[in-house]
Amino acid sequence: MTDVQTIDVGHLKAYDISNQDPLWWGQFMFVFIEGAMFAILIAAYFYTRLRMDVWPPPGDQFPHKLLPTLELIPLILSCAGTYWASEAAKKNSRGGMAGGLTLNIALAAVALWMRIVEWHSLNFNWMTDIQGSYVWAFLGLHTFDYIADLAFTAVLLLLVLIGRCGPKQRLGVHVDSIVWYFLVAIWIPIYVVIYWGPIIVETQQ
Amino acid sequence: MKTTTRVAKVSAATCTAFTLLLTSCIYNRQSAIDPAGPQSGRIDTLWWSFFWLLGAIFLIVMVLTAMTLTRQHRGFEQEPLEALHKASEKTEARLRSVITGATIVSIVILFVLIVASTVTGKANSELQNKKNPLTIQVTGTQWWWQIEYKMGDPTRSLVTANEIHIPVGRPIQIRGASNDVIHSFWVPNLNGKRDLIPSRITTEWLEADHPGAYRGQCAEFCGLQHAHMALWVIAEPEDKFNAWLEAQLQPAASPRTPEEIKGEQVFMNHACIYCHAIEGTPAAGQSGPDLTHFGSRRGIAANTLPNTMGNLAGWILDPQTIKPGNHMATIEVSSGDLQPLLEYLESLK
């Protein structure tokens, strides 16, 4: 005989596509890390700006605002695709996942293309002056994450399309969505800082 | 020529060792707990109050910790197994109230310390409101100090190096700047340190309340020769200071003896002039210390060595052995030129 209590967990699900899964927590940590980094970078931008008499530094054109503003549209819309895919992942709907991910990637690619076009109109680079260094740090870090997540989403789409999509991959689709929401959400303050920042905090001699 | 260098090196080394031994007594004045001014005096008082108060706390904590060792096995052995891991409710409650009490006491003590430290800091910053301050700009450079006396009258401004003379009892404003990396100006007998940061001007106020020579040293790591970047602050009575100031405002003394005249020519014909300035001569280099009154200074190479002719010979012939990595060029000076050069430089009182 035993006097030890038993908790039988055999009836529990082996996967749970929700925020209860450790993997979701792992991605959530990633969001915290990146978020903290961008927050410090934004703080550093304004710290630096407060030390300068003239802003933007002489010679720098104001960045164009039309294209970056338009870029927000596909970017924000792409979240709908992400949402669609992550809901479909919970319901194990392959079509939904494929559709959602495709929409996500397509819109994200459009936004990326607009961003790269916009780069060519900047008349400064990271070596030009301090504003250039910061703007390119924002662009570089965010675009790096953006492309990395886009590539990861593309791999997920590929897995969905070729049918190698078990619960683990569906969980992947679900947790990938938080990263995407984060990348879109963090872009908005960055957008304000790099495209409107020079105007909001402008000082000319 | 090679032999000359070697002989000079050896003689320089011997001289150095001997003079260092002789002058070792003057090196004692670089201490944070030997105040020579009101600023460092207040810090010293604050230090000792912290020391006694926190020292007492340390002793109490240590005694209590030691007592936990002697309290072992007092009647607990008889208690049943379950009770071993847990004290009675009464003991538990008593311990908790002791911890709470200790915490409250430490908060109170720390509050007192914060107040004491803020009051000291405020009192020390009062000096800037005192009348008739003297402004001295200290510019840190790898690895020496440029000193500029900023007088109201620009023709009476004075540039020297590695040695500051101040009048006793007069507030001194130190304006800190840097030409390259971050340095830190620190004369512990007079006040705490202040970083010298490129692109910024930092300020510090100090005052000496009795005459003396106080040594200071760079306190922020600044590269290879961070260890050899010292300066002297010499506090003198007002009249003596004024005499010094008047002397320093003069252009360099003209060479008198034939040796000195030759020495001046040697100086002018070598790379010396690209870095060093001697007021009243064509030498106007800006990258090295001003040598106009070099002979009157206590040390050479940012007080790495006492200012003697032997040390100077060693320094000119082989600066990279005495202070490896410093920016003084190793130049060729022939044996016939060396002695006149030394005599000339030492004549620049």
Binding site: - | Y274, A329, I331
Partner: protein, 177 residues
């Protein structure tokens, strides 16, 4: 297969080791007469402004590709006021130093010779005034302005109050665009 991997890896490692050593070497105690070659560094080089430069006997700069010495050269370039005439390489009173075509030759030995002996129309002769090792350091720095030094040994930018030559070049390009 394993052996190849090991061989490749060790080859790569040695390669890195060599690179690292060379870039980092600091010779902070140069002897003033370390290089007894000046005077005949470019003996055959007649003063022929604009004329074709005959091939030189190769005189290697001892400080080539040494990060420490290039940065020393940069410091001396300013200390000895080369920048007074040549600015940060862009030229002013004196000719620019960032360029394709050199009046008196762009090889290390030529530049060394130019500095030591001076040239007509204002370039003073520095020979005998500044030690040779410093001339070579300045040569190394001038070469680095033209991208003739490994990137890994060259500072990306200066910490000077004046903007670095690279910055200037970028700014000009951007504005013309």
């Amino acid at each position: 297969m394993k052996l190849t991997t090991v061989r490749n890896a060790s080859g790569l490692a040695i390669c890195f080791v060599v690179i690292a050593c060379q870039r980092q070497h600091q010779d902070i105690r140069p002897s003033p007469t370390q290089l007894a070659i000046y005077g005949d560094a470019a003996k055959e080089d007649a003063l022929r402004p604009g004329g074709p430069v005959s091939p030189q006997p190769t005189v290697n700069n001892p400080y080539n590709a040494s990060a420490y010495d290039i940065s020393e050269g940069q410091r001396l370039y300013n200390w000895y006021n080369c920048s007074g005439c040549h600015a940060n390489g862009g030229g002013g009173i004196g000719p620019p130093l960032i360029k394709q075509h050199w009046i008196y030759g762009g090889e290390p030995a030529n530049i060394f010779d130019t500095i030591v002996k001076g040239r007509p129309n204002g370039m003073p002769a520095w020979g005998g005034r500044i030690p040779e090792y410093q001339v070579w350091e300045i040569v190394a720095y001038i070469r680095s302005m033209n991208g003739e030094q490994p990137r890994s040994a060259t500072a990306s930018r200066a910490d000077m109050i004046q903007p670095s030559p690279q910055t200037l070049v970028n700014r000009t390009n951007d504005q013309t665009k």
